[in-house]
Symmetry: C2
Subunit: 209 residues, 2 copies
DNA sequence: TAGATTGTTAATCGATTAACAATC
DNA sequence: TAGATTGTTAATCGATTAACAATC
């Protein structure tokens, strides 16, 4: 069952606050106020205040929030303080890019193995990780207790990739293919759709005269 | 000035409808109804109807919409029927992935040149495109009348990349770095934030008991 | 014809914004 | 103290959903 928590638009803004907080932290500043955030991010202070309130942090009137405390509260809220191990399925251009992104470690994500169906790629090493055959997925998932799958295969193979992951007992899927996956309702799916973003950009560009 | 158009959440769903439409088209089906969409995408028919209405398409009671007509109406609405030329700044892992993504052509996007600051990469060819030095950007942008820039550099270099693009007369930026760019208000920026998606996924996963 | 589906107007829901007392 | 900023309650806004007459 789904508990209710912060509104998802608020959740989406939290990583943005983290980038500002880390900047403040590097500069050695102890306090940050919602007006500080709003100036950098062009948001209204009240929105920042509401968003932060969802994490449970308590501020101090006149001062704001303790930078380090707020950082750890947000990390905690997102569960990014302990690593989640993930499998990546589809080691083409996008998959390779994700394999090479070091930022995931800081965001609680550790890609422990990568898979592909193409014999051209299987056995090769990308960003220090060997690409394995899909046959190895079920056993390895159960053995390593991996709970998260990342799908970066072309649309035509996405459903099949999802089926394999579900079959292997995964409980969440990060789906980078532009299709809607059919999965049991116990499995959480987050679709990351670059074409949605491009659509918004296109409309915004077309809207100017 | 910004005209008002469809709500952005609706715009974000349009590419999803396109994937269903292209499937129907391949199968040679002439008509599609909002109930057809809703079954595949797990959306309510009324929402699909509202979304499609924003594109100006007119349906037929009892039948639905003509598949081919709807496809071209959506393409037209998004401006994806004619190509926009773009520059890509930052040719690391993510930049390379975008350079190699053939799907952009169908979405009206043509990456005509790629740039980087690192002398290790400049001169190399990635997915058939030579990586150029940033010095070449302003002249080339003006000469080619390029209006769109894609930023795939690490956060630390993102603002500088944006400044170069703005200086070169670009009118839109697709920003893949996790920071808020400071640009004149005549420039449209669309931020594509993978960590927002990861935050949502993390919260959804954490919300189950 | 009967009934599935459209387009449109109204109701609901949820997120954003405003207002303001409490506080350091 | 005075005033900036918090936390909370209420008002507004915009998107989603419902209702229903029109239509093929």
């Amino acid at each position: 069952m789904l508990k209710n928590s912060a509104p998802l638009p608020s959740v989406r803004r939290l990583p943005l606050y983290l980038t500002v907080l880390e900047e403040f932290s590097r500069e050695g500043r102890e306090w940050i106020s919602t007006t500080d955030f709003s100036e950098v991010l062009f948001l209204k202070p009240i929105q920042v205040r509401k968003d932060l309130a969802h994490t449970g942090i308590i501020g101090k009137p006149k001062k704001g929030f303790k930078v380090d405390e707020l950082i750890s509260t947000i990390y905690n809220f997102l569960g990014w303080n302990n690593l989640t191990e993930a499998f990546l399925v589809g080691s083409g251009a996008l998959g390779s890019a994700l394999l090479g992104y070091e930022g995931f470690q800081r965001h609680g994500l550790n890609i422990v193995a990568a898979f592909d169906v193409s014999s051209d790629i299987i056995g090769k090493t990308i960003h220090g990780k060997e690409i394995l055959s899909m046959d190895k997925l079920p056993d390895l998932a159960k053995r390593m207790q991996v709970k998260l799958g990342i799908i970066t295969v072309p649309s035509s193979g996405a459903q099949q990739a999802a089926d394999s992951l579900v079959e292997a007992g995964i409980s969440g899927i990060w789906n980078f293919s532009p299709i809607k996956l059919q999965v049991p309702e116990t499995v959480v799916v987050q679709r990351e759709d670059i074409s949605s973003g491009l659509a918004v950009l296109s409309v915004k560009l077309g809207r100017f005269d």
